[in-house]
Amino acid sequence: MPGFTHLHTVSGFSLRYGASHPERLAERAAERGMDALALTDRDTLAGAVRFAKACAKAGVRPLFGAELAVEEYEPVRQERRRAPVRGGAFIDESTPRVTFLARDGARGWADLCRLVTTVHTAADTPLLPWAENSGDGLTVLLGPDSDVGRALAAGRPDRAARLLVPWRERYGDALRLEAVWHGRKGTGPGSLRLAARTVGFAAEQRVRPVLGNAVRYADPGQGPVADVLDAARRLVPVGAAKELDSGEAWLKDAPAMLAAAERIVEAAGFRRDTAHRLLEQTRATAAECLVDPEDDLGIGTVHFPEPHLVGAGRRTAQRTLASRAAAGMLRKGYAGRYAYWERMHQELDIIAHHGFASYFLTVAQVVDDVREMGVRVAARGSGAGSLVNHLLGIAHADPVEHGLLMERFLSKRRLVLPDIDIDVESARRLEVYRAIIDRFDTERVATVAMPETYRVRHAVRDVGAALSMDPADIDRIAKSFPHIRARDARAALEELPELRALAGEKEKYGRLWELVESLDALPRGVAMHPCGVLLSDASLLSRTPVMPTSGEGFPMSQFDKDDVEDLGLLKLDVLGVRMQSAMAHAVAEVARATGERVDIDAIAPGDPATYQLIRSTETLGCFQIESPGQRDLVGRLQPATFHDLVVDISLFRPGPVAADMVRPFIEARHGRAPVRYPHPDLEEPLKGTYGVVVFHEQIIDIVDIMTGCGRGEADRVRRGLSDPESQGRIRFWFAQHAAARGYDAETIQRTWEIIEAFGSYGFCKAHAVAFAVPTYQSAWLKAHHPAAFYAGLLTHDPGMYPKRLLLADARRRGVPILPLDVNKSAVAHRIELVSDSGVWGLRLALSDVHGISEAEAARIADGQPYASLLDFWDRARPSRPLAQRLAQVGALDAFGANRRDLQLHLTELHRGARGGGGGQLPLAGGKKTASAGLPDLSSAEKLSAELGVLSMDASRNLMDDHRDFLGELGVASARRLREARHGETVLVAGAKAATQTPPIRSGKRVIFSTLDDGTGLVDLAFFDDSHDACAHTVFHSWLLLVRGTVQRRGPRSLSVVGTAAWNLAELVELRAEQGLDAVAARLAEPMPEAGGDSTGGRRIQMPTGYELHPWADLRPAGQEPSQVRKLWHQSPGSAG
């Protein structure tokens, strides 16, 4: 019996509707003997590319389609319901849905893209207006959810006949009626009676019927998952409002569908063998739909913007590129250097070979436009290795001088699309997008989608709500998980020490875990990818469906970044880099306050103060070198030149760390180990890194030198190294060619060992050079203009640390922190001359006040100065909560009276404004506000208000309040720790700044954490023997007390290995309320026993060969420290 073709199948890309991934559907279709399968997701084609690839792999012919919400021809009037006082209204899903299949190749696909794009132009919910409802290349299935199907379900064949007329006019012969039987009772969708009516109606109206199954999931038994998805979509608990899923909507095989067809035709009053005709009609409909993934979707072809748009005029793109490059040679002063001309011509040859000239011109055009806007822009990635890019002004660094290779970026042998990423100021990224769209027009530009998929936390929340669990329980469970995949939920419960308490009550929640795991990786929403922009020719909209992004309203392709690459659409990555914004702000501040114009792109290389700062490891806030691991590495490496920074950035990658390239490098650098080369010929490429292979470029050079194969081929070889299969072949090939060049067996063996160990770890030097530039620039700013630097950092919030830590760092480096003041603070952080000695201080910004709107901040800043509270209230017109917050943090202190009195006055002003008059403001001494006799905020309350309103402890470090208690405990401060001996046992305490569980070479899970205690930072490491005792505390407390041993690896490299951890906030409270004995009792409580490795030695084998702990490299549980707004306790009288 020939296979059945499902014409109506949705995947998980139908958000919160489909329960299976397209890949799974394709696999199952192949297993169940089907030759073809359609994917008809709801209002989206986002799954199409994956589906096409999966089908090609499974040997099934893909059909493309979509199930769209269609405007009713005769809208049914609905009565308006009363607005609910609580809980919100039901989600309206009453719009009829119709399935559209692409039939006529590229035309069909283009029609489908157009319809999907149109659907998303509707105001609120997706809707296809009648005016646009047409397409010559489409086949239309009217199923139970269409207006015709609904009329039949309602027992109104007359109305159905009337509604069918417009459909017939538009689509004629391409119209089908779809019968679906899900074994339901009654006459609704999925019922036998409706299916029979549909078939009978089709015969009567002479429209061809087809059989469908409205597939929502691949396998039987997934009905409960569909129920949860329904519940999550409708925002109601499972089973409320509508009946449960029938459990029949799976990808049924041919015999099951034949049985269904027989039941339906019999019920319709035909002979049983008519069922074969129904199936035959279905098959014929499927056979007509011919869309070829390669030819019609455009997989594997490339489309660049038309040359005339990128400044080529009437010349060819290649000619234009060549002349612009030559102009660049003259402008940059390389005209007299032969090597540069040679290299340029070589590169132009390669570009011409691929026909990529318009691509380079496009990127150059974008970079020029961005620069014209006055936005800082820099190229990153392998593109920096091309001299042509440098000449066009795309990349800053001179590739010849830094030894960067074009072949790493593009060669005659590389077939993939080259990729140039550009970094812009994050704060102005959207402006840049708008400029690109203006330049190339919406028909050629679209941003790229990024599906947000279910991971464990969201899955727990949605399933919990669907199962009507207690919201407080749901919240607690969701928050206790690290950010892992949903399918690992139960494994994590078994194995992670910090989840042990939760595992104990696991049984209580019944089906929760199973359902959570079944939601794994299903898309639950779609967002704009933060950096990708599609650039194409004018045919873009016939190749990709586009929807507007929420918020900005940019056109966004429904495809994600991988799909886009497969479709051959040119993607330019425009990354918003906060550090660029921060530096721009710092420079602007210096110019505003001092009049000094700093050009950080032209600062002198090798500035001693900058390198001294870097070597001191006080690099908080510096680009790329601020993490605990990097500070440790910088301390050991002691960089002194720009090249050292490049190496440092390259070494701090999972690969090199895993391959243990760091230690030999450091040893050799400090002269503790001799520098060795496998062969004198290799000295040239390896000299700069003391014989250790760090860069991709070095491998390319080594292979080229040893085999003479040319760099283009060498890069291909390098790529092959990561695949164990091809590695064997390469080894043979390498030995053969190297021997032919006259190298002896031992040299070949040793060189191969280096190449093999290197695998594909190393780092692209072009990338590292591009990174090192802002690293040096930011360190320079920190060394020379610290106040402005911190102002930039705090305004644009780059990096991994919470703002309060940056503030603590500023305080430590002697930058005075000036409090918020409505008469002095601006919208952004500013610098201000503090004393005549010329010290610059940092004035906190209005924009950091919790809940302030941009308009309010601007209004306050514009109205300065204010003479009195009344003046401030009248002219700045702050909202009452905002004014209260400003009073709490002391921004209104200048107006006299204490902060609580000010609040009372503000309330009365507010009341007076509302009541119209009666706003008596008791004034004493003219402009000062009179006291009302309320108690002022206590010192702890002020600090609490600062944390609550600004998320920063602005007036002093919050640890200062605990000095006495910490003294009692004998806690070592970070400053004192610098003198601690190796192996000494110490107590440390502080506020947690960052916690990570990165992948580690040993394959173990290590928790790294950083504490800030006001005198400096303490880096902590917890190894897995201490996890049972510490993991939960470390993840879920903000203030920590830790016992550990000191580890020293260099003069500036120090960390504490934790053995026990306590929640300091809890201890402080015990001390305050019950005295030291209670603290002692708490400390005496036994720590949980170490339970050994609960993963049973399970490790993830990385493709590069090293092992990874299954739970490493995750965003850990607990609240991000940067989110903490509360002090450890909320005193009953706390402000607000």
Binding site: R81, G87, R234, V236, A240, P471, R900, L934, G1133
Partner: protein, 322 residues
């Protein structure tokens, strides 16, 4: 310290037992004020001399009698005025009577949170805490004018007096419980309006039956809907005429429910409270020419008798039986 505040430990929905317990208090003094659903204030000024014992000793006697006669335990607070007695009750538990004497009033009040003061609701407490007046000691220290600016002239003056221990309240004998309540919880988040209405029907039926058993009528009905996120909505409606008629109560409950227009709200419980109870013989009844109303009342009367004979579930509306 002649005022006692008693809280009986009644199981929920047993307010009907309160009148009996009030009778017990009335053996000691005629000045007893009911604090429904489970408390009472008693003025023992005369009783102390009559029985020759002080208030604390009398409290023990009251507890023993409540346990012996009714099997109900109670906690008792004693103070010079009703307000202080009520506040003292917060510190008391069965067997430990908390007594506040005239002399220690200031110390007693000093560290208490403002919300502990009777008459200070959550809104007032929040306002006071915002301004740092989180304990009664601080409120007492704040200038009267400032308090009046914060919470209004009259409330400010009262607050000022109360915080300073001036207790002007008196025990007003009322003798009757003034409200009856019942709750219908759901085992899961319930969105189905039919189930909601069924819960209301059953609750209104129960309230009506209980009112009629006590020979009372109620003047107003309060509907409280509790949601999964622990929030709730409350609506009160005054009845057209005081009644204990189940059909009238149900109709009013439905009206209040419909006005909420709930759709996706996850309802966890619905409770109804009959308020401003009065004696049934004083209730007026609007006669109509429509015989249905009359029939309903007669059926109700018969059903009540059947229930009295065969138990509360002998007769019930069809929708609830299903």
């Amino acid at each position: 310290m002649t005022i006692l505040c008693v809280r009986f430990q009644l199981p929920p929905a047993h307010e009907a037992a309160l009148p009996g317990l009030l009778g017990l208090l009335e053996d000691f003094t005629p000045v007893v004020e009911a604090l429904p659903p489970d408390g009472a204030l008693a003025d023992l000024r005369g009783a102390e001399r009559y029985f020759g014992r002080d208030a604390v000793e009398l409290a023990s006697v009251i507890r023993v009698r409540a346990l012996a006669h009714h099997g109900v335990d109670c906690a008792i607070g004693a103070g010079p005025g009703p307000m202080l007695a009520r506040m003292a009750l917060r510190d008391a538990r069965p067997g430990v009577t908390r007594a506040v004497t005239e002399g220690e009033v200031a110390d007693f009040l000093d560290g208490k949170p403002v919300a502990a003061l009777p008459g200070v609701g959550t809104a007032t407490a929040r306002t006071l805490c915002e301004y740092g007046l989180d304990t009664l000691g601080r409120v007492a220290a704040a200038p009267l004018s400032t308090l009046q600016r914060l919470v209004g002239a009259k409330a400010g003056r009262e607050l000022h007096e109360k915080a300073n221990g001036v207790d002007r309240g008196r025990v007003v004998p009322n003798g009757v419980s003034r409200s009856l309540a019942t709750e219908r919880p759901f085992t899961r988040d319930e969105l189905d309006p039919d189930r909601h209405r069924r819960a209301l029907l059953s609750a209104a039926g129960e309230l009506g039956a209980r009112l009629r058993a006590l020979d009372k009528v109620c003047g107003a009905l309060t509907l409280t809907v509790r949601y999964a996120d622990r929030s709730s909505t409350t609506r009160t409606r005054t009845l057209k005429e005081p009644t204990a008629h189940s059909a009238a109560l149900t109709r009013t409950a439905y009206e209040m429910y419909e006005a909420l227009g709930l759709q996706r709200a996850r309802v966890r419980a619905m409770s109804l409270r009959a308020e401003t109870l009065g004696p049934a013989e004083q209730a007026s009844h609007q006669l109509t020419f429509d015989p249905t109303d009359d029939k309903l009342r007669r059926i109700e009367e018969v059903a009540d008798r059947a229930r009295a004979k065969f138990g509360p579930h002998a007769v019930m509306p069809g929708t609830l039986a299903a």
